[in-house]
Each structure stands twice: as C-alpha cells, then as structure tokens.
C-alpha cells in the first residue's frame, strides 16, 4: 500500500516527537516509570498501516535513538526491528483485539523487548538491573489505549485538512 506524502510526514513527526519525549529530562521519581515511547508509536504505526514501517525504517529509528540517548549503537535498532517484525507477523490478529487485549499484547511485546535488552547487557558484563527495570512495560500497557486514541485522533485530523 502506497501512502501519500502527508501520512509519511505524520509518521515521521510522531516518531521524532517520541524520540524527543524519551530524551526530555524527568523528575527523579518519575524516571523508573518512563515508558518506551518510541516503541509504542512504532507499534501503533505498524498495526494501523500495512508495511509503512518497514524493518529498515525501524532499524534506522533505533540507530538515531541510540546516538541520541548514548546507548550502545545497535541496541535500540535491534529491539525495534524485532518489535516491528513481531507486530507485522501477528498484525491480522492484533488489529481486531479489543483494546484491553491489545494492551496486554503490547505488554508482552515490551516485556519481550526488555528480555532481549537484559540479555545484551548481561553479555556486556553490566550488572543486572533491579526490579524497577520491569516497570516501563507496565506503564506502556496502561498508556497504550490512550496513546492509541490520541494517535487515531491526530491521524483523523490530518486527513480532514486537505493539503
């Protein structure tokens, strides 16, 4: 499915703002709760549009996130590629789940992602993180339905305005 330039731009804008959002400093107390914004937005787009977020695009997004957040180069790239692959694989089913079930699937995806990350950090000899490490998937799950509605609204609004 070919997308017009406008929705491409919309995808670019939302992914870029998700990257910025993950860099914005938070008060100390909120830091452990910070959800994986980029993953949530990327999941949304690969659910709602067929193949616009290709694996290559996911990889590129991950590399940009790696550079900006100072993490190991390729870490987020790997995590987003796997994430998009899984969403594409189960897309036909995920799309028609009721919101709470969809949120649960998002939770599974995010936990899976954390498992991959913990595996890599363990290989690098970093100490294993504390239980707080598992909070972001939970927050992501809680935020998912609202984020979904918000992005749907943004998309509808951009459709109404003719270029």
């Amino acid at each position: 499915m070919k997308l017009n330039r406008k929705s491409r731009r919309l995808i670019f804008l939302t992914v870029a703002s998700a990257i910025l959002l993950s860099l914005v400093p938070l008060p100390e107390i909120l830091i452990p709760f910070k959800p994986y914004w980029v993953a949530l937005v990327v999941i949304y787009w690969s659910l709602e549009t067929q193949d616009t977020i290709s694996l290559g695009l996911a990889f590129l997004t991950g590399v940009v996130l790696d550079i900006l957040s100072g993490s190991l180069m390729g870490l987020h790239a790997l995590s987003l590629v796997v994430m998009v692959f899984l969403v594409q694989h189960f897309r036909s089913r995920l799309r028609f789940f009721p919101p709470w079930q969809q949120a649960l699937s998002v939770f599974v995806l995010l936990v899976n992602d954390r498992i991959i990350l913990i595996w890599i950090t363990a290989l690098l000899g970093e100490p294993l993180p504390t239980w707080k490490y598992w909070l972001p998937p939970l927050v992501g799950m809680i935020l998912w339905p609202w984020l979904f509605l918000l992005l749907d609204r943004i998309r509808a609004m951009s459709r109404q305005h003719k270029p």
Binding site: L20, P25, G74, A77, L78
Partner: protein, 302 residues
C-alpha cells in the same frame, strides 16, 4: 540468530501457534530480512563496544544532532525559570542566609589552608622537592538530557570553544566525577568513574597504599579488586587519587571504604568504595585545567 527464533517461538506459543506454513512465502522473506537486520545490529554493537570506527562515526553524528539537545533541555529550563520567578521571598532570604553561612565556613577553612600551603612550600623548598601544584578550574553544567541508564556518560555544556580537551578530569564539590571522553564544539561527553570499563589510580590516604579503583556499573559504589589480603584497609578510610597515569591529578578525594571482603581462598581482598561525588544527581561540575600550574598561584592574603 537463535535469539530471533527464540523470540518468535515464545510469542508463537503465546497465541496459539500459527503453524510452520507461515514461515514460507511472503513471511519467509520477511524472516530473512529480520535475520539480516539482527545480524547488522549485532555487528554494530560489537563494533561500538570493541572497535574504533563506529565510536568515531557516532561522535560525528552527535555533532550533527547537537541542536536536538538544546531543544530537549528547554522544558526543564523553563520549569526551573518559572520556579525561580515564583519562589517566595522568605524562602529566598532563608536560602541566602544559608549560603552566606556556608561561604563563611568555607572561607574559614581556606584561611587555614593558605597558611598550610605556605608551610608546605617552605618544607618542600627545604627538601629541594618539586614545587607543589595548584589547579585552575573551569565551571561547567550538565546538560539536561536523560540518557540511557546503562551508559555511564553525561553531557556538559562546554566544548572545544571553551578549550576543553579529551582526558580532562572532572570533579564536583565533593570528589572525582569522571573524565572528558569526547569533545564537540559546544559540549563534551564525560565518562563517569562508575563505568565498568573505567579504572582510576587511587591511594588510601591513611596508609598510602596505591591501587586501582574500577567502576561497577552502579553509581553507589566502586571496587578495588586487587588489594593484598593482609593490607591495612578498614571501612571509613578515605580514598584519593594517586596521580599515577597522569590523567587525574593527585590528592583529590574519591570516596570512602564501605566494606572489605577478605576471602582467604582468594589472592586479593575486595574493597568497596562509596564515591563522594554525586554521580547520579549532581548538576554542576568543575573541569580541572590539564596544564596544572607547577608554581602555586599567588595566594591572596586573607
């Protein structure tokens, strides 16, 4: 490779397996592409960790992304500005008073230090030893950006334009923070001493024992893994830089011994240090000028 399969297997199991047929046809090529990207990511990670080219490319890219860091810092700066505007007058007066008291206390100890410095100098002259060193500091502030919690790196708001060079030691009001790792135009990155790859030549103040302190990946403690079993170390001992290795100037406090693990089966005792510097919450830091002045600065008479 097997990672991807594992992942898939796990998720397949999660929602009733969709059968092996799914792996062929269009999905088959997708799986192949996934493999390629995963391999690429693994190569990237490997090269970033052990190679030289990727870190260099990365530093060039960071330069290109510099404006992003300024944009991201705005909300926090705006909030802080708002906070300062709306602060109560009484709060300000109280804070001012507290700062004045602190200043008085510090200038008191500086006065004794001036005398000590002079005495030290006289003794050194008597011994014909090298002259003492005094340092020049530059004030820098950490840029307000949340980085990956696993990278023990912070950004500071001074770069090549202010004369920052790679390897400069960074301290805060309490102790050693880290060293400058990469210098850009307007900002630089600092590697914290808590990084597992960071080694810091140190000395136990009480006994003069020289050893090396390694980061553990946690900001709350450092580790000295090769202290002899029978060495005289006990909790509470203050650890300072030894100045060996010519990267960190000698005599700056690092932390204090938290606990000592002596296992008779091992060759060395493990000594854990609690760093003084606010590695995880500090905002303002000082950069030590690399060309430390060999002649003590002319000290103003109090």
């Amino acid at each position: 490779m097997c990672l991807a399969l594992q992942v898939n297997d796990k998720n397949l199991a999660h929602r009733e397996s969709s059968g092996p047929g799914r792996w062929f046809g269009e999905d088959g090529t997708r799986t192949a592409r996934l493999m390629i990207y995963i391999l690429l990511a693994i190569v990237l990670m490997f090269m970033d960790q052990f190679g030289h080219y990727v870190p260099r490319i990365r530093s060039a890219m960071e330069l290109a992304f510099e404006p992003v860091f300024h944009v991201v810092g705005w909300p926090a700066e705006a909030l802080q500005a708002l906070d300062q505007r709306t602060r109560e007058r009484s709060d300000l007066i109280a804070e001012n008073q507290q700062l004045l008291q602190q200043l008085l206390k510090v200038s008191g100890s500086v006065q004794t230090q001036v005398a000590l410095q002079k005495e030290n100098q006289r003794l050194r002259d008597l011994l014909g030893a090298t002259r003492g060193r005094a340092y020049l500091f530059q004030f820098a502030e950490m840029i307000r950006v949340d980085l990956d919690p696993f990278s023990h790196k912070v950004w500071i708001d001074m770069g090549a334009d202010k004369g920052v060079v790679i390897g400069q030691a960074v301290i805060d009001g309490l102790g050693i923070v880290g060293q400058v790792e990469d210098v850009h135009r307007h900002y630089s990155t600092v590697r914290l001493i808590s990084d597992p790859d960071h080694a810091l030549p140190v000395q136990i103040n009480r006994t003069g024992l020289r050893t090396v302190a390694f980061g553990t990946g946690e900001t709350s403690h450092l580790l000295m893994p090769n202290v002899p079993l029978q060495a005289d170390v006990s909790p509470g001992d203050v650890i300072a830089t030894s100045g060996l290795g010519d990267r960190f100037p000698p005599g700056f406090p690092v932390g204090e011994v938290e606990r000592v693990e002596r296992d008779s089966g091992e060759t060395f005792a493990k000594v854990y240090i609690r760093p003084f510097a606010a590695l995880d919450r500090g905002r303002e830091v000082l950069l030590i000028d690399p060309q430390y002045v060999t002649n003590p600065l002319p000290v103003e008479q109090p």
